[in-house]
């Protein structure tokens, strides 16, 4: 599904390489977690995969379903099934949630050559998803993320995910700022959405989210590259010993 090969990425504004030769292969149905200390390049990786401006790809390739992801426009990536749940979901004043969701869904459908969803079917769909995530009607009427708490914003991201039905989902520090109840709710949403054809890349600083969203693979990222890969027990190991042993690994590779 996704194949990253020796990816190197710098910041556009300063000549500083953040990702320094990263390779990763994700098959359909797999859940991969990337853990790492602050500044290791986790969020840069998710931004580059989603297509955010401000980064220069120095070398390497990213293939998604056989096509060159890095050459694909941002909105096209979305239509092809790439979804990123934002660490800090963006507020858009004056734009109602429903309007935003419907515009997004139908834009994607249009790009894929599918018929747009009519208002009635759309409402039915959104309401059923919102109900599962315990998102109130009142919240759905508000402008996108405006005046929402951290937990509400993250639930909103998961709602968008369930509605847009992507094939490859990046959860960028989705656990940050969540209390246990909110984390359970978000995880429930993710787990009920996962299937044998969908893949997840879970980016997190802490292990606790991985108690709820159980990964098939855990990668430790230090200083722009993956220094260790293991199963879910690796995450528990990190929880106990911290990242300090891995920092050394990162240096040795230089």
């Amino acid at each position: 599904m996704l194949k990253i090969d020796d990816l190197r990425v710098s910041l556009e504004e300063e000549e500083k390489q953040i990702i320094k030769g990263l390779s990763l292969s994700i098959n359909p149905g797999e859940v991969h977690a990337i853990m790492g200390p602050n500044g290791s390049g986790k969020s840069t990786l998710s931004s580059v995969l989603a297509g955010k401006d401000g980064y220069i790809v120095d070398s390497g390739t990213v293939k998604y379903d056989g096509s060159d992801l890095l050459e694909t426009e941002v909105e096209k990536r979305a239509a092809l099934g790439v979804f990123m749940a934002f660490q800090y979901p963006i507020e858009i004043p004056g734009v109602g949630n429903m309007n935003f969701l419907r515009t997004a869904l139908n834009s994607q459908r249009k790009t894929r050559g599918q018929e747009e969803l009519n208002a009635a079917d759309f409402l039915k769909l959104v309401r059923s998803i919102a109900k599962d995530l315990e998102i109130s009607d009142e919240m759905m009427k508000r402008p996108v993320n405006v005046g929402a708490s951290g937990g509400e914003k993250k639930r909103n991201e998961i709602l968008q995910m369930c509605l847009l039905e992507p094939k490859f989902v990046i959860l960028d520090e989705t656990d940050s700022g969540l209390d246990v109840d909110a984390m359970k709710l978000v995880s429930k949403g993710v787990n009920s959405f996962s299937s044998s054809s969908r893949s997840f890349l879970v980016i997190t600083h802490y292990q606790r989210l991985l108690n709820y969203i159980v990964p098939d693979f855990v990668h430790i990222m230090v200083d722009g590259r993956i220094v260790k890969t293991g199963d879910k027990s690796l995450a528990l190991h990190v929880e106990e010993t911290g990242y300090k042993n891995f920092l050394q690994l990162g240096k040795e590779k230089h």
């Binding site: 979305a78 429903m98 515009t103 997004a104 409402l123």
Partner: protein, 506 residues
């Protein structure tokens, strides 16, 4: 979720897809090939007499015009606005143009030249008395539970070509016709109110208008009548090198109500054209007028060639106690906009509201805002202004809030937000606040922001293309004002917002 909410939602979406289907950025740039009769070039007393004669005006009207003309000769064009106005040669303009076959005014719509009707239908303004809405975006169908009708007065260059639903309105007591007709049919009303809100010598452009205005709309809502439908005037400049000077006079008598819409377009031409209109609103006791404008004159091309110079004086006089006025404007067109719809709050407890969206792109310049003059006690005013600049455009909000010494316990609230797209444009806010008594209160809030890269990325990551994303964000920014518009205008306005900003990103 309320039904109303869902309808709105549908429109937003339809709007976005309509925008995509619009090929040219200025959709109304076509011209109608029709034989046109001009007055001789330039401006002098003879021209003023000629215009008066063409309209078969009584002597008192001619005298009024001549007085204005003599006054105008002594006035100087104002230069205080933040506008770079190329020198206007007032002698190199035509002051009167009408389709040749309009010599005899058509008695009914059936007699109107088909080419003219075609022009309006191309603009989306059907001059038929079907249950259609003015200015409705083609291809957009909405549930219309009330089957709302809109009566239209269509002004083509210097003359009104027809007014719909006249008879139906008349049976409700509402007078709706062209001002040239009103001067002949209802001289007492016209004499009483014309120039009573915007006096002849009010300002340079208003004075010019008083001398040479050729047509416009007249509305009188008698005491206690709630106008049974929305009224609208659609202004179209077609002839080349011709100024349009229309005059609108609306009177809402005691306890009357009317909602009035105004739309405007012009062909795409390399020469700039002058538009200097005057709108006077008279609101008596407990009466209310809502006046909405979607101004979409040709803005000039991306290098600033051509476009309409729009110098407009609009003022509402809340004469009666508890009277109300609401101005809503969406300004997307014109090369230059100089316009300050104002409210004079004379009656105690009267209130004035001003909602404005001004969008400038490419080389457009706008200096627009409002004046709230509080004279009566307990008067209230509210100003919500949203300025959006893109390209190399300059956008200025200029507003005056004046609370007089006798205007006890009056209140004003002003909110002025500016949004910048790109880094070559400018936004300016020039508020004047004068409060002359201690029981009054004026609040002013202002913000300036840029279309945020993060917002754009967020939308695009969800699959929304860049131009749709900008349209969505800007429409969100303007929401408060768009909601103040009647439904059918809100749709057109949303569409316009998107079209005006095409090509402003990327």
């Amino acid at each position: 979720m309320t039904d109303n909410y869902e309808v709105r939602d549908v429109i937003d979406k339809e709007t976005l897809s309509t925008v995509k289907s619009v090929g040219d950025s200025y959709k109304y740039g076509f011209s109608t090939d029709i034989e046109t009769e001009y007055a001789p070039l330039g401006l002098n007393e003879d021209i003023v007499r000629l215009i008066s004669k063409k309209n078969n005006e009584p002597n008192w009207m001619l005298d009024w015009r001549l007085k204005a003309f003599n006054r105008w000769k002594k006035l100087k064009q104002p230069d205080w606005a933040l506008l770079k106005i190329p020198e206007i040669d007032f002698q190199n303009q035509y002051y009167y143009a009408r389709p040749a076959n309009m010599k005899e005014k058509p008695k009914s719509l059936d007699e109107v030249e088909p080419k003219l009707l075609e022009t309006y239908s191309k603009l989306g303004i059907p001059l038929t008395e079907q249950k259609k809405l003015a200015g409705v975006v083609e291809g957009v169908s909405i549930a219309d539970p009330e089957n709302r009708k809109v009566a239209v007065d269509a002004v083509f260059d210097s003359v009104s070509v027809g007014t719909t639903f006249k008879d139906e309105l008349k049976s409700a007591g509402v007078l709706f016709c062209s001002i040239s007709e009103a001067i002949q049919e209802y001289p007492d009303l016209v004499k009483k109110y014309l120039g009573s809100v915007v006096p002849i010598s009010d300002n340079f452009f208003a004075c010019l208008n008083a001398a040479v205005f050729s047509d416009g709309s007249f509305v009188y809502i008698p005491e206690g009548v709630r106008c049974p439908m929305e009224l609208s005037t659609y202004f179209r400049i077609n002839a080349e090198n011709t100024g349009q000077f229309e005059r609108t006079l609306i009177i809402a008598d005691n306890n009357a109500y009317v909602s009035y819409l105004e739309g405007c377009t012009a062909p795409q031409r390399d020469e700039s054209q002058l538009h200097a209109a005057v709108v006077e609103l008279v609101i008596l006791e407990k009466a209310e007028i809502k006046y909405s404008t979607v101004q979409n004159w040709f803005p000039g091309d991306e290098n600033g060639i051509g476009g309409i110079y729009n110098f407009v004086t609009k003022r509402a006089d809340c004469r009666g106690k508890n009277s109300k006025v609401m101005w809503t404007q969406v300004e997307t067109g014109s090369a230059i906009t100089w316009k300050y719809p104002s409210c004079v709050l004379k009656g105690d407890n009267s209130s004035g509201e001003f909602y404005s969206i001004a969008i400038t792109n490419n080389m457009q310049q706008a200096d627009t805002g409002t004046k709230m003059i509080h004279l009566g006690k307990n008067t209230k005013s509210r100003i919500v202004s949203k300025g959006i600049s893109a390209g190399k455009a300059q956008n200025t909000y200029r507003g005056l809030v004046q609370i007089g010494g006798r205007s006890q316990h009056s209140r004003n609230f002003t909110q002025c937000d500016s949004l910048l797209i790109g880094n070559k444009c400018g936004a300016h806010t020039v508020p004047y606040i004068e409060v002359n008594n201690s029981s009054a209160r004026a609040e002013h809030e202002a913000t300036t922001s840029k279309v945020d890269e993060d917002q754009l990325f967020y939308c695009m990551q969800r699959g929304i293309g860049e131009e749709d994303a900008v349209a969505l964000i800007v429409n969100g920014f303007c929401k408060e004002v768009l909601q103040a518009l009647p439904m059918e205008f809100a749709m057109e306005a949303q569409k316009l917002v998107a079209i005006s900003l095409e090509g402003s990103v990327g």
